[in-house]
């Protein structure tokens, strides 16, 4: 390889890129904006999935052992955060103050009525539902409450028998099922938070957008006769293409650093959750490099099959949107139906996202992310090889 020519090519591409403000906005501002907006907008949705408890305000007017047992039973389930209402304040006001989904008023006489099987508990327990609580959540919670009340009543009636049989009562902790996430491939995973999902998602999305500036410069070179002139010079296609691709590889690295930094500092500064980096830096670098190789291969392939910048922008941009839509970038994979989750596997963006999530969520090392990295590198290499052959035989 002619190193001077390669270095000159790298320098020239950077100069062209720095003159192209639209490309810089597309490569850096667009994914950053998506990252910030989506991290903040989807925070509530992700919080629920990430283990944020349902808030319930309890106004205990009975103040008996039975009412305290009910409160304790609700709290021990793990899905409810109980806030005791301050006496003398309206329940609805306190629900608003705690952003609670439900309010429960335990009326006086609840403890006395509990062991009496014929006494309806609806006269002692009133459930208030917040206006923004979904009907689905209401049904689930009211069912849970009904189940707890039934168990409390049973316990109150059969309590003496349990003492006789040598048990302390009913331990609901023994009845917890094991939980697995259908969207995770590695079982041990936890659900990503909004920022953990959105940083790698929009980072991968932004990386693939090198297709627009790269194809536009290559097509302009073809249209303006620059490529023809370069072909008459003593420099090989390899040197020219490597000089063109290397700057965009560096652009991809800068994108990763910028997006990670935004996740760690910008999103929390705007009220979102901060990105925490887990896993090995080597694994992160490997996934990052593999995503870049795939993105560059895709970009060069689009450049070689299109003739005008309009075609390249349309094909490259629309292609990116489709890859992102099916790859779990725009809609997280775990909210997709099973069939759609399978479909994500055909998008290289999904492989990149999986790789990043492995590092960020599963503390994965280089060996764990090797399958995704290899798939991305193979895709990139195949696309580069096809583009190389097409450009070689193009008559200009």
């Amino acid at each position: 390889m002619n190193l001077r020519a390669w270095r000159a090519g790298v320098h020239k591409e950077f100069l062209l890129l720095f003159h192209d403000w639209h490309a810089l906005l597309l490569l850096f501002a667009m994914p950053l904006a998506f990252l910030v907006i989506m991290s903040l907008a989807m925070q509530d949705e992700f919080e629920q999935r990430a283990g944020e408890k349902m808030r319930v305000v309890i106004l205990d007017r009975d103040d008996s052992a039975a009412s305290r047992a009910l409160t304790s039973a609700l709290a021990s389930g793990g899905s409810v955060a109980v806030h005791a209402a301050e006496p003398g304040t309206a329940l609805k006001e306190q629900m608003r103050a705690h952003s609670a989904a439900f309010g429960i008023e335990i009326k006086s006489g609840y403890g006395a009525a509990l062991p009496k099987a014929t006494s309806p508990l609806s006269e002692r327990i009133v459930l208030t539902v917040a206006a923004d609580t979904t009907r689905q959540t209401e049904l689930i919670f009211s069912g849970t409450l009904r189940e707890i009340l039934a168990r409390e009543r049973l316990s109150a009636i059969l309590g003496p028998l349990a003492v006789l049989s040598g048990t302390d009562g009913f331990d609901s902790g023994n009845a917890q099922p094991a939980v697995e996430y259908a969207y995770q491939s590695r079982g041990q995973a936890r659900a990503p938070s909004a920022v953990q999902q959105n940083v790698p998602a929009w980072l991968v999305f932004g990386a693939f957008f090198v297709v627009i500036p790269l194809s536009n410069t290559l097509i302009r070179e073809r249209q303006q006769g620059t490529l023809k002139r370069l072909r008459t010079m003593p420099v090989g296609q390899g040197t020219l293409l490597m000089g063109k691709l290397a700057p965009y590889f560096i652009v991809n690295i800068v994108q990763v650093i910028l997006m990670m930094a935004a996740g760690m500092w910008l999103v929390p500064a705007l009220g979102g959750e901060a990105l925490e980096l887990h896993g090995s830096p080597a694994a992160l670098a490997l996934v990052c490099a593999a995503v870049s190789v795939a993105a560059l291969g895709y970009a060069l392939l689009i450049s070689s099959v299109t003739r005008t910048t309009e075609q390249a922008t349309l094909l490259g941009g629309a292609g990116n949107l489709i890859l992102a839509a099916i790859g779990g970038i725009m809609v997280p994979k775990f909210v997709m139906p099973e069939a759609m989750q399978q479909l994500t596997n055909i998008s290289p963006m999904a492989w990149g996202l999986e790789g990043f999530l492995d590092v960020l969520l599963h503390d994965a090392g280089t060996r764990e992310v090797l399958p995704e990295a290899a798939a991305l590198a193979a895709f990139g290499a195949a696309a580069l090889a096809i583009a190389w052959a097409l450009l070689k035989r193009t008559e200009i």
Binding site: N2, G9, L15, L16, T226, M233, P234, V235, E395
Partner: protein, 323 residues
Amino acid sequence: MALPLTASVSQSAAIVVRGVSYRYANAAQLALHDVSFEVPRAEIFGLLGPNGAGKSTLLGLMSGSLRIQGGEISIEGESLARRARHVKRISAVVPQEYAFYEALTGRQNLAYFGSVFGLSRRERLRREAAAVEICRLQDHLDRAAGQYSGGLKRRLNLAIGLLNEPKILYLDEPTVGIDAESRRCILDAVKALQARGTTIVYTSHYMEEVEALCDSVAVIDRGRVVLHERVQSLLRREGAEQLQIVLTEPDPNVAQLLSAFSPTHVDHKVWSCTVPAGRLSEVLAELERRNVRYERLHYGVSRLEKIYLDLLLARDTEREATS
């Protein structure tokens, strides 16, 4: 009016093209059909032909941007097919398009294309300075090339082509659409390069330019070379008994005066006709008597433009007759 081609291959030929044919992918017809000619060293060779005739294809093949499919091309004694990289080192193309980066300054463009040749920084800067001087770009180097006038762009286009100090230079319509100053600058540069020993292949639609610059010309029509001859001998041979008068201003007397010789004219200022040598003094005396004012008068020498247009017209007529 197809004229005989030169047949012998001289040892001093800088470019030898032998039986070259080319067909573009998916094209039904050949773009070039069995083309042969040679260009002596340090000469300016005019490559003429209507749009789509095959000039650019031939330039592409000679300069190595297209692959040779049939025939052979050798440059300075080296086979282009076998030693493409060496040939590319000693030749340069100045395409018709502004083949540089408009977002970059003139200096940045020169630095980039100079570096592609793998030159050391010192050597590159020396060559850049020489190219800038020849093309008179000194005062414009730090502006974005996209802001240049058409003439400056052409000069930068040429300067880039001079960075490897080529022995063979291909100029594809280097003066199209530019101002008189830039045109003069480019033509001066071409003459200076020839004086240094550079062989130049020159395509243009400006026949007076070709006539003034070129030592020999070839005309290509529909992929075939239909004329290849030295310019001066062509002008003399085709110009026997040809009279051309370039008037200072249109004069109604001229049409009547030349009516016996079936004259043709352009804008009532340039008149041409065939006048037998025995009657030339009679025509000149009559011009004098009628006080016709003219800038130039040529006899016995034709103009290249006329020869070129007559040749293409004759071929069109021939084609129509055979079809």
